[in-house]
Symmetry: C3
Subunit: 671 residues, 3 copies
């Protein structure tokens, strides 16, 4: 595997433009003390660099880059196009967005450009080109960072026209379009491409819907999501091309946001040289969910990634911005690295004095001193990472389990009306991912078109939309001995959200050996119970499939209600493999029961036989492998016996037999 | 009583236009198996029938109607005008609506035409006429179904102008208008009709109001409701007239929605030949509320009605779309029939593949087979209804109790500011209706201008608005021996929401023999207690009238707070009758106590002396009468002794002494 | 102190324009019975007085004023400019407002004029002038009442232009503006004044923000608040000037709303001759909060004020409009007077028949009679006030404690993003004010530029923004022996919401003798515990400062979490005085502990040594002083022994030893 960087980048967002020069010098001194070796710059400087339509002024940026180069920083150079200059919105009002409510915006906020605005496209690519021309051959510019946290939607007339072009390209004929969206329903037949209207609050939007931006036609909404994702991706590619005219090699990225709903990151990943993302858990986010997001970000290209942003301490935009506890930032950083990161970057290096992020944590606090707890923790980590710089990068995560994550499914499941508003995509995926996290089994989050043969076991929760080719690919996988786990709300619709007729789970029906006749939805105060063959039980909620065996065997049955005795969980031998089907959303005990049976069938090897509650993740190098052993629980936990005697890279000491690891303790053990 | 149809229509919404012809044949086969004899067609086909301004294409509809005619269906033929074609909105943007927020809508959704749009009016009536001309003399076209679930509002400029015309007609002079709306308050005097503004968020709307669309002037808002209801009714009448040019006889209906707030259904009923409605209870809707809605729908014309839509199983648009339990659909259908339905129709006959209702239950599931629980239940019911077809239609419900339901009161009570946001009209009416439901006493929901003399007892809860003539009519009723029950929040305002001066309950004060000096409002965590003469007690909430006896006797007194000892419930002899006044919103025990006294005074005869918790309803024929005995409780219940020996039309067996009826069990007993 | 009025005004809003003349006569008779001597008229009569652009018609107003003059009323004459006439909005649509969502409003509601509309300004000042010309020399016109409850915002283009002018005047250069708003953050640099955009939902607004109208740039939002407050104040001054052309002497006021967020009342107070306000607590508002608002209103000018509005009984616009309990209105009126009111006025004198306030309590109910509980209580109070009229006015409240209240802080604290959405300004101030209320220590709510030397103790909770000069003023105060109490979230930003660098609490750091290194935010379910030196403890919530002693002593330490053992509360000797710093939001027991130490240090004298739970407030006259002793608790409370033998002005009896005061009981004791 090609390493994108020569060392572990350690640093983060740096905005010297917000400060006087005397501060810059102090910054260099303090950062060096913390072993910071990288800075992400120029993220929001468009207005400064281009003060008017025909004027560019790189004076300050030249100075910043010169200083950082002299200090031998790895510079992550942003293109600054994530926030429009005020003058541009004033002069070209169409460059701003129109929101879902149909309101055209004025100047303000960030991430505010209409992705289909020719004005934006012209100025953004021109700026990216100018930056590449000027700085592209600076060896300290280690990575390009296009725009920032792409996201949001635009519903302006210009986007409406672009949507029609996109649709025409996709469907070729109106007949195909009408069929795809099933416009016969509610008499929505389109006779002219110009009759297509964006799915906003003034079009097909459903007022007070359970999910934001739901419409009467999920097929239309899903196509809009694809169009919007593609449109922003075009913006990215446009800037990338402008850079590539002058800089052929430096890796190009943009910072992603985990399970962010708006963009099809798997599609984006194909255009990116390296994945980077911003990790901002809340005080009560489960650590398994954080891990899942890392595994998703790594899975996008199945390659190590950059942690572009995390806060050294607290945030500002959450309702309750708790401090990271002592050791938490360090443990969280190692968790990130364990799951595939080769960089640790903060937002931000110095806390700003004004604007809405002034209470966002930073390496240098408002106090302006290195004499803070947060700085000391940053420094400790910097010293450690310096030692790991030639050890960890280049090693890889190798997972035996693939969990499917798919943005089309995300959109389709959440935009469909019925059977229950409690079905949220990320929550559903996480309910199954968690099992592997708890059992120290490596997972890669994979796309629907992954090479399944790489995995002993594939988990595809709520695989609601089954796109062309997928039935065949999954059948081939199972026939060849793969273990596939899927659940309720799978195999329901095709790529345009039209239902597969002939009984659920549609294309998966034969392979699953079942027929789901009905889907009951339970209100939050309701539940059923699944009884397994051994008599053990688990509550189940949200939805209950009423299914019939057509070749499969029942592993559990419902214990309550009129469908008591009907199968709730099944297993079907198919070719050399097996398909597990979970018919209701069970509590942890039930989910664990089924997944442990499946994992046993698949002979999945945990990274450690019994982690005692510790998170244990392995990265494999060509010669050596490393176990990241981390404690995210509230009590001291025993390091598994099997690790006794192994060397800890961080402390330099071997693990003792019976050694305990305290909360937020971390060991990196060499195999 | 004239029977609108020769048999019990059994079928529902059918959209073969969404399917290939091979499916049509399969449909016919399967429907026949279920004894389906009716189909509602063409509900959302405007775009297909009229693909452009001057083109009409009836080819497919001809085929559908030919097929159904050949199969001897009773066709309910819709006019398709409930959803605008896309091309029409593109060509005539003004045909779409402007919402309460002032946003003009683009193409999308359904029920989307501005009721005052001349474009809509022209095209809609032309379409209705063309359909009648083409199909009106087909003997299988048994019923016309205009538009669909009329509702919603439009606040466009065109509607504003129409509102001014409507007001001018109503008030004649601006002096009258200003007086009606009491515009002296807050200096709202109108000097020119053109100064009148619609009551939307940009006009007199109250931001973040407890009730949607509240304004500073309830009189204005109520007039807008009347205007909007009239405007849509005009749309209905316009289509009806267009049909009547070609078809003089076939009954014409539109499907209503129970206690839907937006339209004055009593006014609409006068223009409809037969009432039809769509019954969609949630998993936790009280059965008594469902029954009340049936009694309201029957009450609209005091005639049997059509159940135009119900789901065979689940819905899609509720938060949690539970399955109907085995037997539930059947029991619910008989409940509907018991309360006056002569048809049982489903939405829909075949589940659609796409669009927002694809998870809405249907007779034929996505599996496409008759081998489903739902289908078997539909078929069983079909077989039973076939046997009842010459028995039940033509029989009538005869109630001794009238409960007043009035849309003006609905609007006025919910648009008034104070004394409590907890006062919701339907909830309030249901609190009193429930007593009669629980005690198997037949109720008709009646308008304020009903012939009261038909009822032994009239219940008028929260009769907030007392319109001209009503005082006299009620006084006459009571003088002649009627028993009238009314409550807090009665007799407060006249038809323009201006208060009757001289003390509450205004025009009812003399008849009630009380004076309500003050109205206390209780927060949700607060309550008072009513102590009755026999020492028994009931909690009471929401509002407490502080009243003085002026001839009435106190039946109960408050036990708490500074008004402890003041009367809370009174009875007044007036002429040969009595007026009961309930001064606070009591819990069940208190409501039951008073209503049972009143019912005894009125000599109301329950359909069964003691129903043991069963719902028992009677329909009377010219020769025979029928008891519908139904169990909607969670336990088996004993059929009253008095029914022992009576023949059950469904099973063909006589009721045995001590026989139990399980949940969702039904018997139709011949008297 | 100059007394604005010769007697205690007793009366309130009177709208004879809504009634026929026969009612006027009846009003006069009934009001006289209640000892009403004042009426506030013409509040919403613009449409009637000026029926069209060039026509004025004072006929009715002449009659009203003639009648009231003849009856020797003190007339509070409003200018009627708080609600636009319909014709004006029709003719000049720009006179209406554009809301935060960017929607321009039509005619409707009240408080609806764009403050920067030249049309409004022209017509409003012309009307005020005409009224003054006509009635200004009528000796019965005792007070001018401009507009009504000023408030709300306008975001129209016209306001946008005015905002730019306001900014230009304030900042002079764009460099200063950019620096003030820290526009380098997110690249918001402004190069032309015309690029400035109002901070609404279409500009920098944050969607679904925790606080309404939050934006990405608090500095911009705060400036908009200042601008909007100034703009409305200009409207006030403009009308005032128009009046002063014809009437040089009659006091001019407008009715305020306690802690209303929208306007900087301290700035307004400078332009007002006398403060008046509208007091509308809810059924569950703490009495201490009501008292605090009174002390704020009195503090605005440090002078007695007018109670312009309260309801004799219930309101209409609260969710649950409870009745005032017997004696409550009287006790509440005396509480108002105790804290500095010299008038007691109601909204309103006669309950209106229509419009959204028809259920708002009034002296004359809809029954139209004086035979009501409410009227009897009004009359009793009237009789009592008549006796006090030459006793109370002219006496003053003299407080030893000053609590700082500052609208800039209000805006800044609530518009900042982080650390916790639970920090609400009024709630925070009240948490500290409550201590003094409970301990009968007189408080004046003071502005940041008050003469601190008048107070033994200054409490400055959440003094988030420290404006120029304040550091010096507070340091001088403490150096000279003052006791200053401040808390978490103090000393953070300067006047433009930019952070003071060098460590929190910024300019207060030296004086406090501490350094706050970090601020932890606790979710609602979390808490820490403070342990005081004596071992007692108090829970603390919302935020926890992690601080270091730099000269101060710790009075309490955290007991939990990783900062257990760190100081939570400190005291620092500074010059002859002391600064108390409270680092977390403690429960009552902790707050009381600290404030009692501080009060002891400051030698604050309670009005009564031990009030036994009674509220006791003192007004001092030149010769005599008066104790208002009031019971707002749910049980009878013992009057302190020290008052035994003192004469009660209300009953005419001396207090007996051990005498109990029932709930809502009041005594006014002469010293």
């Amino acid at each position: 595997m090609k390493r994108p960087f020569k060392r572990i980048l350690y640093g983060g967002d740096y905005n010297p433009n917000q400060w006087g020069k005397e501060v810059w010098k102090e910054d260099m001194r303090i950062f060096k003390d913390a072993r910071i070796n990288s800075a992400t710059i120029n993220v929001f400087s468009w207005a400064k660099i281009q003060p008017s339509e025909d004027t560019y002024n790189f004076t300050e940026l030249d100075e910043v880059i010169a200083m950082l180069s002299q200090e031998n920083y790895d510079i992550v150079l942003a293109t600054s196009t994530a926030a429009l200059p005020a003058w541009m919105v004033k002069r070209y009002p169409e460059v701003a967005r129109t929101d879902y409510e149909g309101r055209h915006h004025k100047f303000g906020q960030r991430h505010n450009a209409c992705p289909n605005s020719l004005v934006f496209q012209k100025f953004a690519s021109r700026l990216a080109g100018k930056l590449a021309e000027r700085y592209g051959n600076n060896p300290h510019v280690t990575c390009w960072h296009i725009s920032n946290e792409y996201g949001g939607e635009c519903y302006c007339e210009n986007c409406e026209k672009a949507f029609r072009v996109w649709l025409r390209e996709k469907y070729q004929t109106l007949d195909e379009l009408n069929k795809a969206w099933n416009t016969e329903f509610w008499g929505h037949t389109i006779y002219d491409w110009d009759e297509v209207v964006l799915p906003d609050a003034l079009g097909d939007g459903i007022e007070d819907a359970a999910e934001p931006h739901m419409t009467a036609f999920a097929g239309l909404s899903i196509d809009y999501c694809r169009f919007n994702s593609d449109g922003m991706l075009n913006n990215f590619k446009m800037e990338k091309e402008a850079i590539r005219k002058f800089d052929k090699e430096t890796p190009i990225t943009t910072n992603m946001m985990g399970t962010f709903k708006g963009l099809d990151y798997f599609k984006w990943a194909k255009e990116m040289d390296v994945i980077s993302w911003d990790n901002y858990p809340s005080y009560n986010t489960p650590w398994s969910l954080v891990a899942m997001k890392h595994d998703l970000m790594r899975g996008l290209k199945d390659q190590p990634f950059m942690l572009m942003e995390q806060t050294p301490s607290q945030q500002n935009w959450q309702p309750y911005n708790s401090l990271k506890r002592p050791g938490q930032m360090r443990a969280q950083s190692y968790q990130t690295m364990a799951h595939g990161a080769d960089t640790i970057q903060f937002f931000q290096l110095r806390r700003s004095v004004g604007g809405c992020e002034k209470f966002h944590g930073a390496v240098i606090a408002h106090a302006g001193t290195e004499n803070t707890r947060v700085f000391r923790e940053v420094k400790q980590l910097g010293e450690e990472l310096e030692k790991l710089s030639n050890v960890i990068p280049g090693t890889v995560n190798e997972a035996e389990v693939g969990v499917i994550f798919d943005w089309d499914n995300y959109w389709a499941l959440e935009y469909t009306s019925g059977p229950s508003i409690s079905l949220k995509y990320v929550d559903q995926i996480h309910r199954y991912y968690r099992y592997f996290y708890d059992h120290n089994m490596g997972v890669t989050m994979i796309p629907v078109d992954a090479d399944f043969s790489k995995y002993k076991m594939i988990v595809a929760p709520v695989l609601y939309m089954v796109k062309p080719g997928m039935k065949e690919a999954l059948e081939k996988y199972v026939k060849n001995g793969g273990i596939l786990v899927t659940t309720y709300m799978s195999g329901i619709v095709g790529e345009s959200d039209n239902v597969y007729l002939g009984g659920y789970p549609g294309p998966l029906k034969e392979m699953a050996g079942i027929w789901v006749e009905e889907i009951d939805a339970l209100a939050p105060e309701q539940y059923n119970i699944v009884t397994f063959k051994d008599g053990s039980q688990s509550k189940c909620k949200i939805v209950c499939d009423l299914m019939h065996l057509e070749g499969a065997e029942a592993l559990g049955e419902y214990a309550e209600d009129f469908y008591a005795g009907m199968p709730a969980v099944t297993r079907h031998d198919y070719g050399k493999g097996k398909l597990y089907y979970i018919g209701s959303c069970m509590e942890v005990v039930g989910t664990d029961k089924i997944l442990s049976m499946a994992a046993e069938d698949a002979r999945v090897n945990p990274v450690a036989e019994n982690g005692n509650g510790l998170e244990i993740v392995k990265r494999n190098g060509e010669e050596k492998s490393f176990y990241f052993v981390m404690n995210f629980k509230d009590e001291d936990l025993k390091i598994p016996e099997e690790f006794a005697g192994k060397m800890d890279l961080l402390s330099g000491n071997a693990v003792e037999k019976g050694e305990m690891l305290p909360k937020f303790g971390v060991k990196i053990l060499e195999e």
